[in-house]
Symmetry: none
Subunit: 257 residues, 2 copies
Amino acid sequence: METLSLGQYDLIFNAFSFGFATLAAATLFFWLGIGQVKSEYKTALVITGLVTFIAAYHYFRIGQSWVDAYTLVDGVHVPTEKAFNSAYRYVDWLLTVPLLLIELILVMSLSRSETVSRATSLGLAALLMVALGYPGEVSDSGGVRWIFGLLSMIPFLWIVFQLYVGLGKAIESQPENARGLVRTARNVTVGSWCFYPVVYFAGAVGLEGPFATVVVEVGYTIADIIAKAGFGVLIYMIAMRKSEDTNDSIKTAVPAE
Amino acid sequence: METLSLGQYDLIFNAFSFGFATLAAATLFFWLGIGQVKSEYKTALVITGLVTFIAAYHYFRIGQSWVDAYTLVDGVHVPTEKAFNSAYRYVDWLLTVPLLLIELILVMSLSRSETVSRATSLGLAALLMVALGYPGEVSDSGGVRWIFGLLSMIPFLWIVFQLYVGLGKAIESQPENARGLVRTARNVTVGSWCFYPVVYFAGAVGLEGPFATVVVEVGYTIADIIAKAGFGVLIYMIAMRKSEDTNDSIKTAVPAE
């Protein structure tokens, strides 16, 4: 950790605070909508809110850790002994990343057995992906970072394959008013998740210094907001659309955006 | 930041505390009313409460930042190294200002496609308005403050135009018992939002010193309470009025005040 200017320190702190506020607000938005969806989608909304709840908790902790990690000396922020706790993100991802895939499965109206088997296999793959990244993240050795990063890419690529190929038919069979949203949700998952290995490997090729810290911390925060709150709004909309059907079976399905 | 008297410091702190209490109470008022409105208006109340929730969180943080920013020396409050974090307001506005327009759209019973397109365009315009103000707010240069302030007025004027002209017909088509409230809600939006550029440009013409700080901080707090909690109560009343219709279709609509 290096000395940061006022602007650099503040930008990162404000990003963490913004992350907390957005994720906490998203949590309540999802949970307050539970009463408006059919019972088969209520659990999906519970989990969607749990993901942002867990993430909000961690951003609160991350913000606190950031404040403790620096002290103001002559107009610049100097690192204290209490190193910024970067493990918070990995602990968060261990919980939230499997749940993100599960919430998507739960709004796809698959058969009970397919729901269980896909949720389990995707959840475990996500767990493995995050767990493999961690030793590389905390290591000082570039080589170790590369090895674990590449190992972590294996379950990631399997997940991407499942989302496009394994679940392809199920996605195309979604009702018309929700199909576009489900496709978008899948694309947002893969697109937003791609950000994390980019940051990870930038660390592996030696990107460092205050500017890199700003890019990494603000970048991860924005990626988390998109991947959890933004994605969650798509899940919410899918659940809402699919819950309209029973009330308005005559109403022609509005084209999904 | 300058030295403040006991009275000046306390007034501002108490304004922040009052802001938190009012906004937190408003949040719970809106959410506890969700069960009493028709399903098409529930999301509007969720969002109305989210706006005041996010604002309450930020007033809590703002109050804390205020306390950390001053130290009591010989009966006056002297600035500490920890500068008062004025970014909190902008981060708050980035989230809440788009949502304020969206909650108004959601109680206007527009068609699905118009609801989505207006909510999106107004939300983005609001986001742009706030984002353009930020560089001016944090700059020491009066010139920079002017430039960004004027740029920010462009999306603001577009929003005002939409509220009076673009949505004019939709507002006049509201049911009789809610029409006056919707007009009032629109007027409160524009009226309360006008306060912010006045404060912003007062900073650009060099208004400063302890008295200016009191006016700015207390003023912004009052404006936020009116624009979020006060406006939210109007949205709540509109949703309640429009939910009466189905129960009392024989009852002649009470003229809106």
